[in-house]
């Protein structure tokens, strides 16, 4: 079984849960940007939740399937079209030999996932298939390897299908129907001016077009430190909010540098990171404070949905 790229998009990659254990030598973790949509798509086709998956941005790559396959499209809605008929999101779709899939327009969200039932064959580097510098290219061909029978569970049982629909609804609602993105204050939170603290908590923000797998730039009220200060570099994480000297905030994403020397004013919690990933620059959101206990309990609850 295999799939081929007919025409590549602008920044499409193969991603899995990421590459950990090497940040001390400067290797970024990479991995899915919107891990909730990626996990959902994998569950729908019957893959393990952390299987490798195609991550697409608009204008997205187009694909041709070389054999019959089961696929699912989740995350951003780029209006997927199979041959010349539009197909549903978040549904297992049976595709036939020589069917082609392409994407028409960025209707909702920024990052789309294409899951294919089976293991996408690509070289493993440091325990992960996540692309770091490479992107998928026109004419690339990926073999799809069937899972061992025991991993492969695809239920047609009506109760399970109902459960799955309720999970899809919950994930979609969480990611796309909320304008609240929560964060935990970082080491330099108290270095912000009182006015900036008030602005960050009360004023709306939006994402700049200048956002990618390394980081999302936030636009809104300019923020300032109480006094100009320099910091020794220290480790940053997925979700770290770095305050640049020009008053703008960059939220670090999967391909982030491992250490940073800008003021670390907070970290977006993991459950809310997919919301930010999918926020286009034409919608406003608010930043709200939360704490570790809430972040942990919501994360665990959402991971339960997929088990």
């Amino acid at each position: 079984m295999s799939v081929q790229i007919v025409k590549h998009g602008i920044m499409d990659t193969l991603q899995d849960k990421g590459r950990y254990g090497f940040q001390h030598i400067g290797i970024p973790p990479c991995g899915y940007l919107d891990y909730l949509s990626a996990q959902l798509s994998n569950v729908i086709v019957g893959n393990p939740i952390d299987a490798p998956i195609f991550e697409l941005h608009f204008p997205a790559s187009s694909f041709i399937f070389k054999e019959d396959q089961t696929i699912c499209i989740s995350g951003a809605n780029f209006v997927p079209v199979l041959n010349d008929k539009s197909v549903a999101m978040n549904t297992a779709i049976h595709v036939c030999k020589n069917d082609t899939l392409h994407f028409m327009q960025p209707l909702l969200g920024k990052t789309c996932y294409l899951a294919i039932k089976g293991n996408i064959d690509s070289s493993l580097w440091l325990n992960s298939k996540s692309d770091f510098i490479a992107q998928i290219k026109t004419n690339d061909q990926f073999n799809i390897i069937a899972w061992d029978a025991d991993i492969n569970k695809n239920s047609n049982n009506p109760t399970e299908q109902q459960n799955q629909q309720s999970i899809i609804d919950k994930v979609q609602k969480h990611i796309f129907n909320s304008n609240e993105i929560r964060f935990i204050p970082g080491p330099q939170w108290n270095d912000l001016s009182t006015e900036s603290i008030s602005n960050i908590l009360k004023q709306p923000f939006y994402t700049s077009l200048n956002s990618n797998r390394m980081g999302y730039q936030l636009k809104g009220q300019s923020l300032q430190l109480m006094e100009e200060k320099t910091y020794l570099s220290s480790a940053v994480t997925r979700g770290t909010m770095q305050l640049l000297p020009n008053g703008e905030v960059i939220v670090l994403m999967a391909n982030h540098q491992t250490i940073g020397g800008y003021a670390n004013i907070g970290q977006i919690i993991l459950v809310d990171l997919p919301k930010l990933v999918q926020h286009k620059s034409d919608t406003l959101f608010h930043l709200n404070l939360t704490n570790v206990a809430t972040a942990h309990s919501e994360y665990k609850q959402m991971q339960q949905w997929f088990s």
Binding site: G21, H24, G26, A235, Q257
Partner: protein, 240 residues
């Protein structure tokens, strides 16, 4: 040295919902690095479940954890500090210094593309800049920016130069640069703002999982000058 080590007092803070950061006072000092390396090695040896990454830097040690395997991060962290302290009291710090890694650098002006402008700014001859850069033994404070990029210091104040206000689009692999008190080597072609004074023929980062980064935090580095001809013989990087 032992006396100073025993005075270090570790603090800890959470860093969002999936990291813990241990920290010492923010000073750039090889002795602090020695202590961070000790604590780092202790945590690596303890191999706690759910720890995905252990990232040392100038005055911090950060752990990235798996939320599903970590219930009370601060308790976990304080427990680690306690265990480390009790162990440290028994085994007085007596770590051998890392061996010095010799790094050949060709300071030819075709590689050291900022040497001429630095020479006029610093009021030193290029020969003097090279002499001063190769005099010190540098400490690797941390790695970051890109795979294998080591931040080393301290650069003699006589040749300290601020980075370019506008980074270059493409700095060649192996380029040796200076940014203030720091010196470092670009492991691969990349954009970069450091003042470039030469190029090493050594491969600084290798994708081979058995090799990866030439340097690690705590290493000591000594640069020595080589000629252009020697560079060509030794070169392990593709020229660009």
């Amino acid at each position: 040295m032992t006396k100073i080590f025993s005075n270090f007092n570790w603090n800890v803070q959470t860093l969002g919902d999936h990291a813990i950061q241990f920290y010492l006072p923010p000073i750039m000092d090889p002795r602090v690095i020695g202590e961070i390396k000790n604590f780092n090695d202790f945590i690596v040896a303890a191999a706690a479940k759910g720890i995905k990454d252990i990232i040392p830097s100038y005055h911090t040690l950060t752990l990235i954890y798996d939320i599903e395997l970590m219930n009370t991060p601060l308790d976990f962290a304080n427990d680690l500090i306690e265990k480390y302290k009790s162990q440290r009291e028994i085994n007085l710090p007596n770590k051998e210094l890392n061996k010095i890694i010799d790094v050949p650098v060709c300071y030819d002006e075709s590689f050291g593309i900022d040497l001429i402008s630095m020479s006029s700014k610093l009021n030193l001859s290029i020969t003097e800049i090279i002499k001063i850069h190769t005099q010190n033994i540098y400490q690797v404070y941390c790695l970051g920016f890109m795979p294998g990029f080591a931040y080393m210091g301290d650069v003699n104040t006589k040749i300290q130069t601020a980075r370019h206000p506008q980074p270059r689009q493409n700095v060649s692999a192996g380029s040796v640069g200076i940014a203030g008190a720091q010196t470092g080597i670009y492991p691969m072609h990349s954009p970069g703002g450091w003042q470039i004074i030469g190029r090493t023929p050594l491969k600084i980062f290798d994708k081979d999982p058995e090799v990866l980064s030439k340097f690690k935090m705590g290493d000591q580095i000594k640069f020595y000058p080589i000629t252009r001809a020697e560079f060509e013989t030794l070169n392990q990087n593709e020229l660009k």
